[in-house]
Symmetry: C2
Subunit: 148 residues, 2 copies
Amino acid sequence: MLHFEDFLPGQRFEYLPRRMETAEIIAFASEFDPQPMHMDEEAGKKSILGGLAASGWHTSSIAMRMMIDAFLGSSTSQGSPGIEFMDWKKPVIAGDTLSGFSLVLETRALRSKPGIGVVRFRNEILNQTGETVAVSECPIMFRMREAG
Amino acid sequence: MLHFEDFLPGQRFEYLPRRMETAEIIAFASEFDPQPMHMDEEAGKKSILGGLAASGWHTSSIAMRMMIDAFLGSSTSQGSPGIEFMDWKKPVIAGDTLSGFSLVLETRALRSKPGIGVVRFRNEILNQTGETVAVSECPIMFRMREAG
């Protein structure tokens, strides 16, 4: 289990690649973001996104899952107070294969919550041609080793 | 259809209330954010969130859907380049009923994309006791009326 003390600035966690399938893009959009360019191939091609494109919230949720599988799922994560920013830099088009990484920016103990520390991450998602499609920075809270 | 020109600073779009069910919280978490406090009642109670709590990405995706139903679904939205920030201020616990609103902050034509304008929104999600559980600000692109 990764505790707060195990995270060091500059450390990098690589995500496993994941293909974005047409069916899952449409399923997510149907539930949470039913805009034409996320639901229909033709509407996507006519839009400024240029094809059937995943909702930014879908890409962000997939990025969360990639973080879980890469390192967060075997950590003492206590969740996050929010996202500092999330840039959707390029469309994620059906059939794209995403990969990426989380980089540790800084770590600090939380005075207000003894036994908890905050780690700030920069998270980048790339497509199969190496273009960055999404970038975010966010703090995540972890239990400290001595608190256990 | 709401076009870019129809959005004015200070305008407010109210969301319809929506109850967050245990089953949907667990289903979303299983797919995108399988951390114990989003998957299991007991783990949630033991965590700093205090109960079975929705993933922040689930709350954010639900907020997206509330925006679609409130106004975005009957607009010329062309999507968003990202989120300026998203604060998850309070846990969203199974059984909570969410509501909220989007407030127009400012509007401007995009010089780089003729016929497209950007509207910046502040989006607030409240729970049934009136506490703000999530706040975000984001730009959304809309087609202009004359471009049609």
